[in-house]
Amino acid sequence: MKFGYGLGKLFFSFLLLEAAYCSFHPKTIEIRDGWIAETPEGAEVTGAFFKIKNYSEFDDEIISIQSSVSNDIQLHEVYMNRDVMSMRRLPSLRLNKGEFHELEPGKMHLMIMGLSEPLKSGAKIEITFKFKVAKEKRVEFVVKKMEFQ
């Protein structure tokens, strides 16, 4: 009887541990620290930046990105050839199991095109990411100034 009670406790502890683990590392794709560069009046495009990690057990990829502020959001890779900046559109972003990417100025960004009005600091913009395997994700991005110290 005692043995059965002990096993129950052990099983319950295991469930608790599993729940705690999952709450810190959900087995899905995590997108965090998303922000969009504030735009001057007249600007039709801006960049959005974020960190993304695939915690799931499957290789995956971003296949589409949508938002109410634009009909056209593209993934871009930026590269420098000596001092010349070039941008290349990426058709998708591969996210192998455990893979992490940081989209930051000068490296990669989401190019949000066709803005009809300026995006001001403090505004919150929802961006929807669709993946090949994982469920779609809606993520809130904060608009802020590109600032330097």
């Binding site: 000596r82 010349v84 900046m85 100025p105 960004h109 330097f148």
Partner: protein
Amino acid sequence: MVKNFFALFFLYGIIVLNCKGNQPVLDKFPEIGGNFTLEDTTGNKFSLSDLKGKSVLLFFGYTNCPDACSFNLSRLSAVYNKLGSDSEKVKTLFVTVDPARDTKEKMGKYLSYFKFNPIGLTGTGKEIDKVADLYKIVHIKRETGQGKDYQVDHSTITFLIDANGIVRYLIKQDDPVNQVTAVIRNLLSEKL
């Protein structure tokens, strides 16, 4: 294309020679620069020589550039803040490499966002090419494959020009704010 390659190679060589350790050193670049005249965003003719007596930051970009240009303008905002009252002795010129889309009105609105009041300059494609050649600037229009949309690959160097219109330093895209501020202060401290 060959011309672009040589311009790029030449500019890069000069940038490498321009860095002695981490200390920004003022120099002279007789092969780069010169006076030019374009139109400002109010439609008036504007020449580099109009700024004789002031230090000038000159760079080439376009308003549809979501990364390098807004990055550089934001960095320069921080530099102007650090310069304090000396900032009045420095003017920034932004020459568009996309004159077809960067109308005077659009550039004017875009640049008015930045408190240090950069002056936007434009012209015909040929006029822009002429200025770009003077400063060994590469700019290549690249179709994105989506209708008529395109981007412009372009040099990201910002030229620091002295009160006599002579290029004295080539600021790189990844030079930090403190380094850019320091080299401008060096120039401002020179006796005319």
